[in-house]
């Protein structure tokens, strides 16, 4: 494919603006840009064709089966996009007076109310722009909480070895040291290891439940007790809320803070990497630390308030990825009381069904009932045939399917982490199962073919080593 710069012809342009209707003004020479500005010079038709070509080489949720573990690639309803595009939302300046944005504020309050009910929390901020941003926000809340009590020795955050990489990275940004604890034989938090890890320096525990192996931490009440008794707080990484929404509420199981990934559980699209939205909910005793501004209500009028002495400050400008919150709100209103748990059950049913259809060939890393996802290990297959998890993933590409997440969680060798989601049909799962089984056969009979895969895609396997060693990170005009 040509780069947009390679489609450029000097002198071409799109005619967008009328001539300026006031006298021109010129900056002083020393304030002016000296360097040439090399942007593409193209007509609208050329731009349209360019992006149509780029789109054709992009794999969207509707391009095919997309069971990317931990990412919850469910269908993104169209109505939600239309709602976010309404001028009454999209054309609103963030600094308009409160009486002219009552609808925006009411939407934020409503989203807060519904998501608090779903998570069992008391308050929620929508400022965090993504899950990791939510984690960071939650950890700063924990920091501030301990400090406010004059407890300055709590410097450690405990995370299980199955945790997402963002957990320890967020802990570092919040000035904590990470203590990683090993999972037990069953893939769950090892209570003895946790007991040994907690102490006077424990600030909190970050936990994903169900965890990244797709297993529900059934000892959650005991876990919460251990952490709370040691004086720490419990943080819920909401990446995997989808299979338990409407079934189990984090707040009822002892969690003090949660973040949600609206772009996972609540159906907002991923945009090729973002924007997402990572609201953070907390129990009432932490509310005074939440970021500002916060939406308040008095006599039926909504307004922003920044007047909180103990606030941690702000996590970004304005109020978060507002339009993303609207999409999630529309989704929750659509599913409602019955639809939320039904979606959860569909996700769990799909995952267990697919796992059982594959477990005679591919080894399940932690057998038993899974929630939204299950993790296979291609290690035995690799020993037997030389075909790795990566090779299987690349083989799936030739079959028009997006591979599962590979090589995560880190405690499973040759991991294939499969999350079918609630919006996948039995029919498409059956088709996927057929392909997974065929690839297994292929691995046994013709492993070389899988080492070579993919062959049907626009490009073949890439030289990632050279890309990192001699980085070319921008177009070279010369």
């Amino acid at each position: 494919m040509k780069l947009i710069f390679e489609r450029s012809t000097p002198g071409l342009s799109c005619e967008i603006l009328p001539p300026c209707d006031v006298e021109a003004y010129e900056l002083k020479a020393e304030q002016q840009r000296g360097q040439e500005l090399r942007l593409p010079e193209v007509t609208e038709g050329e731009i349209s064709r360019h992006y149509t070509e780029l789109e054709s080489q992009t794999f969207g949720v509707n391009s095919g089966y997309y069971p990317l573990g931990s990412c919850t690639m469910k269908y993104n309803p169209k109505i939600n996009e239309e709602i976010a595009g309404l001028p009454g939302f999209a054309d609103i300046h963030p600094l308009q007076p409160a009486h002219t944005v009552q609808g925006c504020l009411e939407a934020l309050r409503l989203a807060e109310k519904l998501l608090c009910e779903i998570t069992g929390m008391d308050y929620m901020t929508f400022q965090p722009a993504a899950g990791a941003h939510g984690e960071f926000t939650g950890l700063v809340l924990i920091k501030k909480y301990h400090e406010s009590r004059g407890d300055k020795k709590r410097t450690k955050i405990i995370v299980p070895d199955t945790a997402h990489g963002t957990n320890p990275a967020s802990a570092t940004m919040a000035g904590f040291t990470t203590v990683s604890i090993s999972s037990g034989q069953d893939g769950l938090v090892d209570l003895e290891a946790l007991k040994a890890a907690v102490g006077e320096d424990t600030a909190g525990l970050m936990l994903t439940n169900p965890n990244t192996l797709g297993l529900f931490e059934k000892n959650i009440v005991e876990i919460a007790e251990i952490v709370h008794q040691a004086g720490g707080l419990l943080y819920y990484d909401g990446a995997n809320l989808n299979p338990v929404m409407g079934i189990v509420r984090p707040g009822d199981t002892g969690f003090d803070i949660v973040h949600l990934n609206l772009h996972k559980t609540f159906s907002t699209p991923h945009g090729g990497g973002g924007p997402g939205s990572g609201p953070v909910g907390c129990k009432a005793f932490l509310a005074k630390f939440l970021p500002v501004p916060r939406v308040e209500e008095k006599d039926g009028e909504f307004y922003f308030s920044g007047d909180y002495e103990n606030t941690i400050g702000s996590m970004k400008a304005f109020y978060g990825n507002f339009l993303v919150v609207l999409k999630a709100l529309a989704y929750i209103l659509t599913l409602g009381r019955e639809g939320i748990p039904e979606a959860a059950k569909s996700a769990v049913l799909n995952a267990n069904y697919m796992m059982k259809k594959l477990e005679d060939l591919y080894q399940v890393a932690y057998p038993g009932r899974c929630m939204h996802e299950f993790v296979l290990t291609a290690e035995p297959l690799k020993k037997k045939t030389g075909v790795s998890a990566l090779d299987i993933a690349k083989g799936l590409l030739d079959n028009g399917m997006h591979p599962p997440t590979v090589y995560f969680p880190l405690i499973v060798h040759e991991a294939l982490m499969v999350e079918p989601t609630d919006t996948e049909s039995k029919q498409s799962i059956d088709e996927a199962v057929k392909v997974y089984r065929e690839l297994y056969e292929k691995a046994c009979t013709d492993p070389e073919a899988l080492h070579q895969a993919p062959v049907k895609t626009a490009v073949r396997r890439l030289d990632e080593v050279t890309a990192a060693r001699n980085p070319i990170l921008r177009y070279n005009f010369d």
Binding site: F89, P94, A171, M315
Partner: protein, 443 residues
């Protein structure tokens, strides 16, 4: 009730039969009863699409869409060409995940590579990343790039957008970093203070261009002082201004960041927006977030891939340069499409029209008694005036005419107004504004 589950009850039962389970509830029989929610969620029953649309449209109807906007302060109304909206709503761009599988993601990857190139062109820098959340977090992340064991003190100008400053403060608090806010003097960074206070512990100095008050600061002088003290320099720049104004690179910055919202992204009540980050070559491996690089496939075909991942959280965990995972990729694609549509001439024209209209407006507003310019300094498309009447009453009067007036300042300049003018404002609109202000004085 709306539902997106594609299996009938009969199909679900078949699947349950295969699993040896009687009902969907049995899927959860390993979860202790004591932690299960009793009695279901206390939220309204699900609704049909039409009902949801009506409810959300009713909410949208409670907001006022202003026909004319003279307010910026970090969110700018520019014209968004139709092609930009069309491209940004293409289904695959909207719904794809982060391009972990490059063989089927060349479209998204290439769009990011093009975006990185354009941000480098705009800022004069060598390397850009695939975006961060917004301008405020871009500032905070840039600071993190500059801090090390020897130098961990952070200097930020008070003329930075107040939300950005508050965000930077929170990030510094979290990491336990000392933050020095360099005072504002006559609307610009107090250079003498900076000179006196930078020391061998100082890691970085960050300022905004044009600053929160719209003023084009002498960034070169500030960065020279920072460099002499051994500190890095960060410029948070308005990308429209960058088309005609001296680039961060030309001013001597090591890192350029900014809010990309003016590049084709709607006001959206504050988000999603687009944080961009670019830097000089030496700092490339300290950049946070995704970076796309060019490489070849095994047949020698040019291709693009996420690269330098050894910086990132999924590899480095607690030692990562940042925790960022999701970014604002679709907004980056939107901005790249906007820059392609405007082209070099068009983007400069946007900037020049902003500049011309703001100066036309400033001339006429400031000639009204009581509306004098507060600062005697060059500005881009925003400037501050005094206000001889009650600011709230003035705003209410403008609102009646469908006009969102300038932003009433708080803090040291309370009672003053920060006005903003872009290519969207016609001469007629500006003249009307001046007439209304004039009437207000006479009343």
């Amino acid at each position: 009730m709306g539902s997106y589950i594609p299996n009938s009850k009969a199909e679900q039962q078949k699947m349950l039969d295969f699993l040896g389970l009687a009902s969907l509830d049995d899927l959860y029989n390993e979860i202790p009863d004591k932690v299960k929610l009793k009695g279901g969620l206390n939220i309204p029953a699900g609704k049909s699409e039409l009902e949801v649309r009506r409810q959300m449209e009713a909410l949208a109807g409670k907001n006022k869409v202003f026909r004319t906007i003279f307010r910026g302060a970090g969110a700018y109304r520019h014209y968004i060409p139709a092609i930009v909206k069309a491209v940004a709503s293409k289904e695959r761009f909207v719904t794809a995940y982060t391009p972990y599988q490059p063989e089927i993601s060349q479209g998204v990857l290439q769009s990011i590579f093009e975006f990185q190139t354009m941000i480098c062109e705009l800022t004069g820098m060598d390397t850009a990343n695939a975006s961060v959340y917004d301008g405020a977090t871009a500032c905070a992340e840039a600071i993190t790039m500059c801090v090390d064991r020897k130098r961990d003190e952070v200097f930020v100008s008070a003329t930075l957008h107040p939300d950005y400053l508050r965000t930077v403060k929170t990030y510094c608090y979290a990491a336990g970093r000392k933050l020095v806010v360099v005072p504002e003097k006559d609307g610009v960074t107090d250079l003498a203070f900076l000179k006196e206070n930078l020391n061998e512990k100082s890691a970085v100095f960050l300022m905004q261009q044009p600053n929160f008050y719209g003023i084009i600061e002498d960034a070169e002088a500030c960065f020279k002082v920072a460099r002499e003290a051994g500190a890095k320099s960060v410029m948070c720049i308005n990308p429209i201004f960058a088309a005609i104004g001296k680039t961060p690179r030309e001013c001597g910055a090591d890192i350029a960041v900014g809010e990309g919202q003016p590049l084709g992204i709607s006001l959206s009540f504050g988000g999603p927006y687009l944080g961009f980050m670019a830097c000089v070559q030496e700092l490339t491996r300290r950049l946070p977030g995704r970076i796309v690089g060019q490489t070849k496939d095994i047949e020698g075909k040019r291709a693009f891939v996420l690269t330098l991942q050894a910086r990132e959280q999924h590899i480095r965990r607690e030692k990562a340069s940042s925790n960022i995972c999701s970014n604002q990729a679709l907004c980056a694609l939107t901005a790249a499409c906007y820059m392609s549509t405007m082209g070099p001439t068009g983007l400069k024209e946007v900037a020049n029209q902003c500049l011309a209209k703001a100066h036309y407006a400033a001339k006429h507003i400031s000639s009204l008694p009581g509306y004098e310019l507060v600062f005697d300094a060059e500005f881009f498309h925003e400037f501050v005036t005094r206000c001889p009447v009650d600011v709230n009453k003035l705003m209410a009067k403008l609102e009646e005419e469908g006009i969102l007036g300038g932003y009433p300042l708080e803090g040291p300049y309370e009672g003053c107004i920060l006005w903003c003018f872009t290519e969207m404002n016609t001469k007629e609109e500006i003249d009307r504004l001046v007439a209304i202000l004039k009437e207000g004085i006479q009343e």
